[in-house]
């Protein structure tokens, strides 16, 4: 099978890669680019562990081909912190102990950041709705939801 040459931007950096036509963006990130922060839970769109943004839209990277990234801007968990400085939502996940095994955490953080980039005044119901595509089998959702609500409050200076 012939390889496809793809030019894209990942977390702000111009990136080029070769991938097979059948490889998902998730495969490309993890296996070709060594960006293993994005996780695979199900491979079928159900768990959200593979969440990334494409031009700011939150999607599952397991339901998208690597080839589809051509010309788009991809955002992954690796771009959420600025160098060693954690994003406020990452700090709040630590403060609230909103993770246990951590497999789901990158997906939750990418999804939560995408929500907070849209609004700093989400209601609890909106947070729960927004994160409904992210599954966690250990922590329970309350701590996660509280961490996100608390981040929003901090960011709007409340």
């Amino acid at each position: 099978m012939s390889q496809i040459h793809v030019t894209t931007k990942i977390n702000g950096d111009e990136t080029e890669f070769l991938c097979g036509p059948e490889e998902t963006l998730l495969d490309v990130l993890r296996d070709h680019l060594g960006m293993t922060g994005t996780k695979e839970g199900c491979g079928t769109g159900d768990c959200g562990a593979c969440s990334v943004t494409v031009d700011g839209r939150l999607v599952c990277s397991c339901l998208m081909l690597g080839a589809e990234a051509e010309g788009h801007e991809i955002g992954t968990i690796e771009g959420v912190a600025k160098g060693d400085e954690l994003h406020p939502v990452q700090k709040k996940f630590l403060d609230h102990a909103a993770l246990q095994c951590g497999i789901c955490t990158p997906g939750f953080l990418v999804a939560a950041k995408a929500l907070l980039d849209r609004t700093l005044e989400p209601t609890e119901e909106e947070v729960r709705y927004w994160l409904a595509g992210n599954l966690c089998r250990c922590t329970g959702y309350d701590k996660i939801v509280r961490a996100v609500m608390d981040t929003a409050a901090e960011l709007r200076g409340a």
């Binding site: 769109g45 939150l58 998208m64 409904a132 992210n134």
Partner: protein, 281 residues
Amino acid sequence: MRYLRPASCDEALGMLSAPDTRIVAGGTDVYPALRDRAPRFDMVDVTGIADLRKITQEDDWLRIGAAATWSELIRHPLPPAFDGLKAAAREVGSVQIQNAGTVAGNLCNASPAADGVPPLLTLDAEVEVAGPEGARRLPLGDFILGPRRTALAPGEMVTAVLVPEPPAGAVSAFAKLGSRTYLVISIAMVSVLATAAEGRIAEARVAVGACSPVAVRLSALEADLAGRPVADLNDLGLVTSAHLAPLSPLSDVRGSAAYRVDAVGTLVRRALLAALEGRNG
């Protein structure tokens, strides 16, 4: 397999004339169904066709381009007659799924539990198809033929979902019964569109999904509802088994056939009350 990304409908139709090609839009039905097997067909990704991404008003029709996503529909300003469709859109999977999945893909996939079908049936939607023989248009009810079966001929593609101007003052609602709040396959879902004047229902349209091989309008019920006082919607016996005769629900892990039919009667009254009075019955 090859991954093909046409820039125009003509280019896409050229590609589709070859054997072993498959259209992919958001991929949210196509990719999970592959289950890790490399596809044996060429993928024709229609999301790069700029015209297909648009949602526009053209004369008396709303045109939902075949590559427009559920999220784009939710954000598009529309009158209350579309509230049911928007409510259904918000129930399609999760934010991630709504950002990728398209309205047209939902119809083409032809699942009996597709959330988009009942609201679009109450809106009298039509499907615009392009193919080697030219373009044609057919009512949604004639487009979906059975589970996973549509009227698309080989080499054809959907270019848009078209919705005629709804009746003046129409309101609508969508009610889905699942085993939990988010991310579920429907046990049953109901979409209604209605107009009322002076406390009476003028026109009511009712469609039910997940209770027959293809979602259906309940025309006998619609005829009985016309002219009735809105207050009758509080009558628990309003929806009779004769009204629900077009349904043929299955019994499966999600619910028994009897439970599904019973639930539909309640969902219909609730959806109509929610639409007409802004409350749940």
